[in-house]
């Protein structure tokens, strides 16, 4: 028997579950198919940075839209997913890095992103625990962080409450399009049909796009993560650096979450693991930023799998080959913050045929053009 609906979503990460919620809220019959558990991949294991500062200019309108939703998560999904507006402090460790911070101020201004530059003297006064290598910083007061383990399951639960049909352990293994409707089959043998299909399958979105004749050069990206035991709370802002080779944040419980470099993964299984030498290298960088971390114990490390595009921005928008197919995947290591907004934008794209957010930079066929 085939289940018919208005919209089929493949992939239950932050993007897919937010889309399910927003579309169900507008009355569409939505079925979301997730291979494992919702939020079991990148969206559930990431660093938890809810950051706008430093993003590619094309992403800033989505990030702004998403940030507005982050601010009202509790009403929307019943939990704030531990979202805290701690600010994001991006640090420079030499003059070249400082120049980059200064250059970004203009980008921020153009997109109404509040940003405050902190110079050489002030930075060590304001943040006495920073190491001597730090020469400057730029502070984004609206940014912060959240608990990735909570966001997606809560989005999914809210989507279900709004009427969406969210199926877990339902890997889509067959896709067809008969000219008007998509026909999907899961590994469990269930069939689904709908005129609209959203490709929100993270790294694996590339395979789905290829299935409909639009392959893209997406590769797996596995950021390397570690977390310390809880220690006295003293690092309030979410910390990053120019170049991004280390980032860290402390939660109120006291644990410090530290990211940097890349682990290893096999998306075919899928599995991902941190690499010990990368963890140790990242810790060396972290202790340079915050010397007081010396002696604190690492209790766990991990990684995950996101899809990385060559230009490090996602694919978002309608398919060029198949009417009714829409893509939103390949968030290139920074789609956690974007997830809630992406769902809202995709709902507009499908229901209204348009959105105020400029999406041209994210066209799926942009790689064809550069290749040609």
């Amino acid at each position: 028997m085939t289940t018919s609906c208005d919209v089929l979503i493949q992939g239950g990460g932050g993007a897919g579950c937010s889309a399910a919620l927003h579309m169900a809220q507008r009355g569409l019959r939505v079925v979301l198919l997730e291979r494992g558990l919702v939020g079991g991949q990148a969206s559930g294991v990431n660093y938890g940075g809810v950051r706008q500062q430093g993003r590619h200019p094309a992403e800033l309108p989505i990030a702004r839209r998403s940030r507005e939703i982050w601010g009202r998560l509790k009403e929307l999904i019943g939990t704030d997913a531990e979202f805290e507006v701690t600010g994001h402090l991006k640090l420079a460790r030499d003059e070249a890095e400082e120049a980059e911070l200064i250059a970004y101020l203009d980008v921020a201004k153009a997109y109404d992103l509040p940003l405050r530059m902190i110079g050489r003297n002030a930075i060590h006064q304001e943040y006495a625990w920073l190491g001597p290598k730090v020469v400057a910083g730029s502070f984004a007061p609206e940014d912060g962080s959240a608990n990735p383990r909570l966001l997606v399951p809560a989005l999914a639960r809210a989507a279900r409450a709004a009427g969406a049909d969210i199926r877990e352990h339902a890997e889509v293994v067959e896709h067809a399009h008969d000219g008007t409707r998509f026909h999907l089959r899961t590994s469990g043998g269930d069939s689904f049909a709908a005129p609209v299909l959203l490709n929100m399958a993270g790294f694996w979105g590339g395979a789905l796009a290829a299935r409909f004749g639009e392959p893209v050069p997406v590769v797996p990206l596995s950021p390397n993560m570690a977390v310390t035991e809880p220690v006295r709370y003293f690092i309030e802002p979410n910390l990053g650096v120019v170049g991004g080779n280390v980032y860290l944040r402390q939660i109120r419980r006291g644990n410090v979450i530290i990211g940097g470099g890349h682990g290893e993964s096999d998306p075919a299984v899928p599995w991902s693991r941190p690499l010990p030498e990368v963890t140790l290298q990242t810790l060396r960088r972290a202790v340079e930023l915050v010397p007081a971390l010396a002696g604190v114990n690492i209790i766990r490390s991990w990684s995950g799998i996101d899809g990385k595009m060559p230009d490090r921005i996602p694919v978002i928008g309608p398919s060029r080959t198949t009417p009714g197919l829409f893509h939103a995947f390949g968030f290139s290591g920074h789609g956690f913050q974007l997830g809630p907004g992406i769902g809202a934008i995709m709902a507009e794209l499908v229901l209204d045929g348009r959105t105020d957010i400029p999406l041209d930079a994210f066209r799926i066929d942009r790689f064809l053009e550069t290749a040609a």
């Binding site: 419980r253 941190p274 010990p276 690492i298």
Partner: protein, 460 residues
């Protein structure tokens, strides 16, 4: 061929012995300052004591194992005080930490002899200062010559309960009570099978009789109610007997434990699959009778591969080494293999009876009061885990333990669920109305034990 042996307890010593006999020079690693493992852990140098006093009935095997250990050290690349905190099966590398120094070690084959730890069921008051596991109480006595208190209650079940109580009493501590959650009748019913264990069973009977004869208060088939105390320490223990009457005894320390569970994190990182062993009521890494795992080059022996005790660990260590030698094209003595296999089979039958005699009281964990601290690292109470299993939770229900960990932080702290994991799985299973095997086990993640961040100066 580069062979690494992790662990220098009974299993590790006999594994290394067989490898050295075959002409190999393995790298031999233990995080402890010296070998001996848990049962034959040695006091630090300068605190030498008479083996008879230290190990009692086990003085003979202890002395023999220590002699083998000391003879083997110079014939191997012996690395004490070295923690293996990660193992990458694909790259065949171990990540080690020795006195703050990190090192990577390549191996072609590894025998993991990582031993066991106490299995704990949190009960009200278990976080007061002065409460330890049974094993920790014993280690304090064995290696430091000191007790966990002057007037001690031992609580839980299993052979270690009676052994530790005996050892404390013998050392001159006042044993205020031995409280066994297993009813006498359960143990009596398993007695015929236990007799096959011969001396081991006799020892157990002896300890119990010895304690009784000295008027130590003994209660079996009890339900612990609380360990009473203040921020300054334990003051007493309250329990209910099988007839429903409540009792109390004053004490200043409590040792508790309900059998053992394998320390199998390295096997987990090595990607060895696990199965739930209903008899042991533990998740155990998969291996054949000789210790081969489905992961090429990874062998397991001793309590880390499933609880069997020290005698089994010694046989299994030797057997796993022979399997490794056989698999890598060395000639092994077929008669020796047959002998070891026969001894392992005999021990397995005894083990079945032992598990029947001291079953894990899953019901005790399942009935844990909502306000009892379940995960002490994260300060999480049993009720908070139950709430996460319910459909009304903002995240929806957690269908298995890793999801419950993600939602509640149970098992996310310093111990990575080594202490609360078993009880957490029972509570979740009860709340979901499932069998405990169905809610899974907490997946291991590196490091297997905490590793410190090095200071910036040293880091360069």
């Amino acid at each position: 061929m580069r062979v690494a042996v992790v662990g220098a307890g009974p299993a590790g010593v006999r594994a290394v012995e067989a490898l050295v006999a075959a002409g190999l020079t393995p790298v031999w690693i233990d995080e402890a300052p010296d070998g001996g493992g848990r049962i034959y852990q040695r006091p630090p140098p300068g605190l030498l004591r008479d083996p008879g006093k230290l190990y009692g009935f086990e003085a003979g095997p202890a002395t023999a194992l220590h002699a083998a250990l000391d003879a083997l050290k110079p014939r191997t690349d012996w690395r004490p005080e070295t923690l293996v905190w990660h193992l990458r099966p694909g790259a065949q590398r171990l990540s080690t930490l020795h006195r703050g120094r990190q090192a990577e070690l390549a191996y072609d084959a590894a025998i993991l002899c990582t031993g066991a730890m106490d299995r704990v069921i949190p009960i009200p008051g278990w976080t007061w200062p002065g409460v330890t596991t049974l094993g920790a109480a014993q280690i304090a006595l064995k290696t430091q010559g000191c007790g966990i208190g002057r007037r001690v209650v031992f609580l839980g079940t299993g052979p270690l309960l009676w052994l530790v109580a005996y050892q404390y009493a013998k050392a001159g501590a006042q044993v205020a009570a031995v409280l066994d959650t297993t009813p006498f009748a359960t143990k009596a019913m398993a007695a015929p099978g236990l007799l096959r264990g011969g001396t081991t069973f006799a020892k157990g009977l002896y300890y119990t009789a010895w304690l009784r004869a000295r008027g130590v208060r003994i209660a079996e088939g009890i339900t612990p109610l609380a360990i009473e105390g203040t921020a300054h320490g334990v003051t007493g223990v309250a329990w209910r007997d099988s007839a429903g009457r409540t009792h109390h005894v004053d004490c200043d320390a409590t040792g508790m434990g309900w059998g053992l569970k394998p320390e199998a994190q390295l096997a987990d990182l090595a990607a060895v699959p696990f199965r739930f062993d209903a008899q042991q009521h533990n998740w155990v890494p998969q291996r054949d009778a000789a210790g081969r795992t489905p992961v090429p080059g990874i062998y397991l022996a001793g309590d880390g591969a499933g609880i069997g005790g020290a005698e089994v660990a010694e046989i299994a260590g030797a057997r796993a080494a022979l399997a490794l030698l056989e698999d890598s094209g060395h000639r092994v003595d077929a008669a020796q293999v047959t002998r070891l296999d026969a001894r392992l089979a005999r021990q397995a039958r005894f083990r079945t009876a032992l598990e029947r005699a001291f079953p894990f009281p899953a019901a005790l964990a399942r009935a844990m009061a909502d306000d009892t601290i379940l995960c002490r690292c994260e300060g999480l109470r049993a009720g908070e885990l139950r709430a996460a299993a319910r459909a009304e939770a903002a995240t929806g229900p957690a269908p298995e333990v890793n999801r419950a960990k993600a939602f509640t932080r149970v098992g996310m702290g310093r111990c990575q669920g080594r202490i609360c994991g078993a009880a957490a799985a029972e509570i979740l299973a009860a709340e979901l109305g499932r069998d405990v095997a169905e809610v899974g086990r907490l997946r291991g993640q590196p490091p297997v034990k905490p590793i410190p961040i090095a200071p910036a100066a040293e880091a360069a």
